[in-house]
Symmetry: C2
Subunit: 126 residues, 2 copies
C-alpha cells in the first residue's frame, strides 16, 4: 500500500504551519529525505508527519532552529549519537518544566492583580 502521501498544503494544514515554513525548515536541514512525486512536487509520508509534529513541539517550547539542526545532524550521524540526543531532550525537558513553573508564578501575580481590581471596585478608593 502507498500509505497516504501528503502534499505540502495538506501537511501544512495537518500540523498547523505554513507551506513556506515547511520549506524553510527543509532549507535549514530540520527536515530531510522528503520524497518527490514524478513532477518534482514534495510528498510527505507518515514518518515526516511524526517528525514534524515533534519538531513543532520542540519549537513551540522554545528550542531554537540552531539547536534543532544540531539534533537533526546527530540523527544523521547514526546510532552512536543517541546518548547526546537523549541528553538534549532531557535538557530541553528541564527548561520546559522551568518555564511552566515561571508561568505558574505569573498566573499567581496576574490573579493577584485581578483581585486588586475587583476589590478596588468594591471599596472604590481614590
Amino acid at each position: 500500500m502507498t500509505t497516504e502521501l501528503l502534499t505540502p498544503a495538506e501537511m501544512a494544514d495537518l500540523v498547523g504551519v505554513s507551506v513556506d515554513t515547511l520549506r524553510y525548515y527543509e532549507r535549514e536541514r530540520l527536515i530531510s529525505g522528503v520524497g518527490r512525486a514524478d513532477n518534482g512536487h514534495r510528498r510527505y509520508d507518515a514518518d515526516d508527519v511524526a517528525w514534524i509534529r515533534v519538531l513543532r513541539c520542540l519549537r513551540d517550547t522554545g528550542m531554537t532552529i540552531d539547536q534543532l539542526r544540531h539534533y537533526c545532524d546527530l540523527g544523521e550521524q547514526g546510532v552512536t549519537t543517541k546518548p547526546e540526543r537523549l541528553a538534549m531532550l532531557r535538557d530541553h525537558r528541564a527548561k520546559v518544566e522551568a518555564r511552566r513553573a515561571e508561568i505558574d508564578r505569573a498566573l499567581e501575580l496576574i490573579d493577584h492583580k485581578i483581585d486588586i481590581y475587583l476589590n478596588e471596585a468594591a471599596g472604590d478608593a481614590p
Copy 2:
C-alpha cells in the same frame, strides 16, 4: 522618609532587565512618571518597582509591547477604564493558561520521545 530611590543600574539588577530595556520601555510609554535626581538622572521609587515587575510578568507571558502600551494608556485615562483593563488582564490570563496546557502536552510528548530512546537502548532495534 525618602523611601529608597533606585538608580537605573539598581533597578535593572533588581528586576532582571538591562538599563537599555528600561529606557526602551519608557520610550514606548510602558513606564511613565519616573522621577529625576537634580542632575537629571532617573530615580525609581517603590511604585515603579511594583509596576515594572508586573510589566515583566506580562511581557514574559507573551503580552506584546503594543498591548502593554494600550493597557498603560488606559491607566492614564483614569478610573473609567478599569473595566477594560480588567478585561485585558482576564483575557491575558486565559491565554497564559492555554499556554500552560500546551506546555503540559509538550512535556508528555517529550517524555514519550525520551521513553522511546530508553527502550531502543534496551532492545536495540535497527
